[in-house]
Amino acid sequence: METAYNYKEVMSRPERLAPGHRMCAGCGGTVTVRAVLRALHPEDRAVVGNATGCLEVSTFMYPYTAYEDSYIHNAFENAGATLSGVETAYRVLKKKGKIKENYKFITFGGDGGTYDIGFQSLSGAMERGHDMVYVCYDNGAYMNTGTQRSSATPQFADTTTTPAGTASSGKVQVRKDLTAIMADHHIPYAAQTTFTANFKDLHTKAQKAIYTPGAAFLNVMSPCPRGWGYDPSELMNICKLAVETCYWPLYEVADGRWILSYEPKKKLPIEDFLRPQKRFKHLFGPGGEELIGLFQAEVDRRWEELRERCGS
C-alpha cells in the first residue's frame, strides 16, 4: 500500500491549509499540518480536529477558516474525545447510507493539549480504537499562552514558568516519552518524526498513520522560533540537529514491531542541538558543563534503550 515517495509530486498537491492565517513565520506547527494533510489522497475528504492552542486560534479566527476540509475545535483537553465522536457518527451514518463520500479523521494538538491536559482524552480515544490519527505538533511548551513548561519540555529548558535564574537551571524534570506511551497502548501504528531529508520520513509516516485502519498516533517535533529562541530561517537546521544528536529519534511502531527509521552515521554531541537555542543559553555559562553532561547522559540512555527495543 506504500507508494514510493515522489518529492515533486507530493509538494505539488493542492494545499489543504490556505495561506492568510496568523501563525508565526518559521512556525513548525504549520509545516506539520501541511505535511500531514498532503499525505491524504486528493479524492478523500477529511474532518480535521484541533485542540485549543497556537494552531487553532491562528487558523480559525471568526469569520475565517484556513482549512479546505471540514474542521472542528471544541476545547483544550478533548481533541481525542471530540474526534472520536465525529468518527463514530461517520461510521453510523455511512452504515445507514446517509454518507456517500469517504472521510479520514485527523486531529492536531500541541504538546500542551496532548501530553498534559489532553492526555486522558487521547488515551481513551486510542484505547477505543477509533479509525483516526492524532497528530501532536510537539514544540515543547505551552506556546500559545507564552511558553510555559509542559511535560514535553526538555530538562533545563528556560520557560516562563521554569525560568533560568540564580536559584534555578530551568525545568527540573526530564521529558515524558509520549510516543512510547502511545505505542504501549497497542494501537496499530505510532511514530515519531520531524522535518528532515525532503520530508520523506514525515510523509510516509503520515500516510501510514492515515491509511492504517484503526487508531494511529504521530508525534512530530515542531520547533517554535519564539519559544526556542532561534532565527526563523534556521527551522530546518534545528530539526536536522535534533535528529543527528539523537535528541529526537525517528522511529515507528507498527503492529507492535519497533522499527528505527534512521541511525546517524556519526552521532553529534547534544551541545550542537542546544547551542543555537536561546532557551539553553544558561547551559553555556558557569556550571553549565555539568548540566549538559546530565542532558547528554539522558539522551544516550534513551537512545540505547530505543535501539535495543528496535533490535539493532
Binding site: 487553532e56 471568526y62 482549512y67 471540514s70 465522536g85
Partner: protein, 395 residues
C-alpha cells in the same frame, strides 16, 4: 393502544432511547443514572437497537464526543448525574453555543461535598446558565413523555439548542411505577428523522465549527442564543400539542394543581410535587382551605410571564428550592419566581424555603405546616423564617 407497563424512571428513559434509536451514545457511568447506559448496552447487545455506544473514559469526554458526533450530523444522547455533569460543565456551554441539539438524561443528584448520591437539584441548577433547555419531571410517566418530546424541541430550526430531561435520583429513577408507553412506530413518527442544515459530513460542503472570536463578534453570538432560547418556548408548546394529539396527555411550562381558586400556593420542581399534592388534597378535604400547587416543568427557558400570571393574585406563595445557590439569600427557583412577581407588581407575600438537600425526605406533614405558615404570613404580613431549611436538624 398504549402499552401498559411497570418501570422505573431509568428503565423508562432507556426504553425511550431504544424507541428513538439515536445514532450515537457516548456515556460514562455515575450513580444514579448508571442504569440508563446499562439498559441501552443491553438493548444493543441483543440487537434491539442500532445506537452506537462510545465507552468514553470520563463525562467530560462524553459531552466532548457528543459535540463531535452532533456536529458531524448524528443524533446524539447521553446520560449523567451530579459530579458527572459538573465535570462536563465547560462542554455544556460549548454544546449550546455551537447550537447542537444534543439530548441528555439528567438524573438529579446532589453535588459533592460531602459526597452524596441522593436527589437534589444542585447539579442541574448549577448548569442553569449554560444555555441548555431544562425540563423536569415528577414521575416516570413524565420523564418518559418529556424524553419523547426532547428531540422535536431541540431540533426545531428556530431553536437548535441542547435539552436536558431531568428526574429525581433514586426517587424517580429507581422507583417503579405504572406507566403508559407509546408504540414504537408512533414514537418514530412523532420524533421524525434528524435532518440538520449544515454538518461536518455534508456532501459537497465543508463546515468549520468552534472558532476563536474576538470581542467584535462574541456578543452577537450570545444574542442569537438568547433568541433561540426565547423561540424554545413556542417549540416546547408545539411539541406538547402534537404529543397531546398522540397520547391525550397534556403538558405545558408548569402544572397547576387545584390552583383555580387557591389562596395559598406552593411552587416546586420534581418528585416532591407528588407529596405536596397529597397534602393539598388532605387540607382541602379536612379544612376546606383553598390551597394549591404549581409544579414547574420547564425551568429553562424561564416562563416568567406565565408563572407571574398564575401566582400574582394569590395571598401567599412558598417557593421551594431543592438546591442552594449560596447567595446567602434565596435559592435559584425562589430568586427567579420573586423577580417575575415583582415585575408583575404582585401583592402576594412570597417566602422561599429550602428542602430535600442531599436527598433528605420531605413529608405530607411538612407540606401541611408550610400551608399553615402561608396562612399566617398572609394575615400578619410578617415573615420570620425566610430562607429556612425544611426538616433541618437544629441540634
Amino acid at each position: 393502544m398504549a402499552v401498559r407497563e411497570r418501570l422505573s424512571g431509568n428503565e423508562a428513559v432507556a426504553y425511550a432511547i431504544r424507541q428513538i434509536a439515536p445514532d450515537v451514545m457516548p456515556a460514562f457511568p455515575i450513580t444514579p443514572s448508571t442504569e440508563i447506559p446499562q439498559y441501552v448496552a443491553n438493548y444493543i447487545a441483543n440487537g434491539k437497537v442500532d445506537t452506537e455506544f462510545i465507552h468514553v473514559e470520563s463525562e467530560h469526554s462524553a459531552m466532548s464526543a457528543a459535540v463531535g458526533a452532533s456536529a458531524a450530523g448524528a443524533r446524539v444522547v447521553t446520560a449523567t448525574s451530579s459530579c458527572g455533569m459538573a465535570l462536563m460543565w465547560e462542554e455544556l456551554y460549548v454544546a449550546a453555543s455551537d447550537r447542537l441539539p444534543v439530548v441528555m438524561a439528567l438524573v438529579n443528584r446532589a453535588l459533592s461535598g460531602p459526597i452524596n448520591i441522593n436527589a437534589d437539584h444542585s447539579d442541574s441548577m448549577g448548569a442553569r446558565d449554560s444555555g441548555w433547555i431544562q425540563i423536569y419531571a415528577e414521575s416516570n410517566q413524565e420523564v418518559y413523555d418529556n424524553f419523547l418530546q426532547a428531540y422535536p424541541i431541540a431540533e426545531n430550526p428556530a431553536v437548535r439548542l441542547p435539552v436536558m430531561i431531568c428526574q429525581d435520583g433514586f426517587i424517580t429513577s429507581h422507583g417503579v411505577e405504572n406507566i403508559l408507553l407509546v408504540e414504537d412506530d408512533k414514537v418514530k413518527e412523532f420524533v421524525g428523522e434528524y435532518c440538520p442544515e449544515h454538518y461536518l459530513l455534508k456532501e459537497k460542503e465543508t463546515m468549520a465549527i468552534g472558532p476563536y472570536a474576538v470581542s467584535n463578534y462574541y456578543m452577537e453570538t450570545k444574542r442569537a442564543q438568547r433568541e433561540a432560547m426565547k423561540n424554545a418556548k413556542g417549540a416546547i408548546l408545539e411539541a406538547a400539542q402534537r404529543f397531546e394529539r398522540m397520547t391525550g396527555r397534556k403538558y405545558g411550562f408548569f402544572e397547576e394543581y387545584r390552583m383555580e381558586d387557591a389562596e395559598y400556593a406552593i411552587v416546586i420542581i420534581g418528585s416532591a410535587a407528588g407529596t405536596c399534592k397529597a397534602a393539598v388534597d388532605q387540607i382541602r378535604e379536612t379544612t376546606g382551605k383553598k390551597v394549591g400547587l404549581l409544579k414547574i416543568r420547564v425551568f429553562r427557558p424561564f416562563p416568567e410571564e406565565e408563572l407571574a400570571a398564575a401566582l400574582k393574585d394569590k395571598k401567599a406563595v412558598a417557593v421551594l428550592d431543592r438546591s442552594e445557590m449560596f447567595s446567602a439569600t434565596g435559592g435559584p427557583v425562589g430568586a427567579e419566581v420573586r423577580a417575575a412577581l415583582y415585575d408583575a407588581k404582585s401583592r402576594a407575600e412570597v417566602v422561599n424555603y429550602f428542602y430535600g438537600l442531599g436527598g433528605r425526605d420531605i413529608t405530607v406533614e411538612d407540606f401541611r405546616q408550610i400551608y399553615d405558615r402561608l396562612e399566617e404570613i398572609a394575615q400578619t404580613h410578617i415573615i420570620e423564617d425566610m430562607y429556612a431549611y425544611i426538616g433541618l436538624r437544629e441540634k
